[in-house]
């Protein structure tokens, strides 16, 4: 379970438990990699939002569909890949949640939060559904301790 190797991957059911487990794993791995507290919260929340999208909007809780979550440390980056088996999403149809006409909408903030918290967010169709890639640069303590909260 520990991220002593460079990559760990989980295949999980399309359930609320998967969302919680994804968040817990993100918190643990980000902590192990030495991210600052603020960054750990950001990574955990981005992964949670990605898992919500996969379970809820992608797989729609379908019991026969799985969510795959991989955590990978390569060079100076933590790369998290979340794949679902859903029908895919049209990014052009996702409204800007900061637009005045959308402020009081009760949904549609997940991708915005991921983009706010991570250095890179890529969403693209995969062979079986949608692939979400979240990247956070690792800032080691010897690199000046500069936080990347913005």
């Amino acid at each position: 379970m520990a991220m002593t190797e460079q990559r760990v991957s989980y295949t999980l059911d399309s359930s609320l438990e998967t969302i919680d487990r994804a968040e817990e794993n993100a918190t643990r791995i980000a902590t192990e990699l030495g991210f600052a507290d603020d960054e750990i919260m950001q990574i955990s929340m981005a992964v949670r939002e990605g898992a919500v999208n996969a379970v809820l909007h992608g797989n729609a809780y379908a019991p026969d569909k799985k969510v795959t979550i991989a955590f990978e440390k390569t060079g100076g980056d933590l790369i998290i890949t979340i794949r679902d088996q859903g029908p895919g999403m049209d990014l052009s149809k996702i409204p800007n949640p900061l637009a005045p006409e959308n402020l009081l909408k009760t949904s549609g903030r997940g991708i915005f939060l991921m983009r706010s918290f991570m250095d890179t967010v890529e969403i693209r169709p995969s062979q079986t559904g949608t692939e979400l890639k979240l990247i956070k640069h690792v800032h080691g303590p010897t690199a000046g301790g500069k936080e990347a909260s913005q």
Binding site: M45, R48, V52, L98, L103, K105, S107, L113
Partner: protein, 114 residues
């Protein structure tokens, strides 16, 4: 850790003391049911005390918005009290801080309804 709520009355205002996490699933449902129950009983001055809410996700943010608009649509008013830094930051980046009436202390929150 799931969400818990308790309600109390102060000078005609209902204070909802929430604790835990407001996230997709149980936490969001608890908040939704609590606010709808209060409105059905005629409580239209509501303060959500979020001092002990340590985590909220986009679904939880959506529930806060829903609670706000549902209350407003029924002629009531819902205000937020004692935001933790995490929740405060989330409302800032989503620009919802400009929508909600956010208070720092309970006495002024209660007084602001009069």
């Amino acid at each position: 850790m799931s969400m818990k709520v308790g309600t109390r009355q102060v000078d005609g205002v209902t204070i909802v003391d929430a604790s835990g996490r407001i996230t997709l699933g149980e936490g969001s449902v608890v908040l939704r049911d609590t606010v709808r129950d209060l409105l059905s009983k005629g409580s239209k001055k509501i303060v959500l005390n979020l001092a002990e809410v340590n985590y909220i996700d986009s679904s939880g943010i959506g529930e806060l918005v829903s609670a706000y608009t549902t209350t407003k649509n029924q002629g009531g008013e819902l205000k937020l009290l004692n935001l933790t830094k995490k929740v405060n930051d989330l409302l800032q980046i989503t620009k919802l801080y400009t929508v909600f009436d956010v208070k720092d202390d309970e006495a002024s929150a209660v007084k602001s309804f009069k």
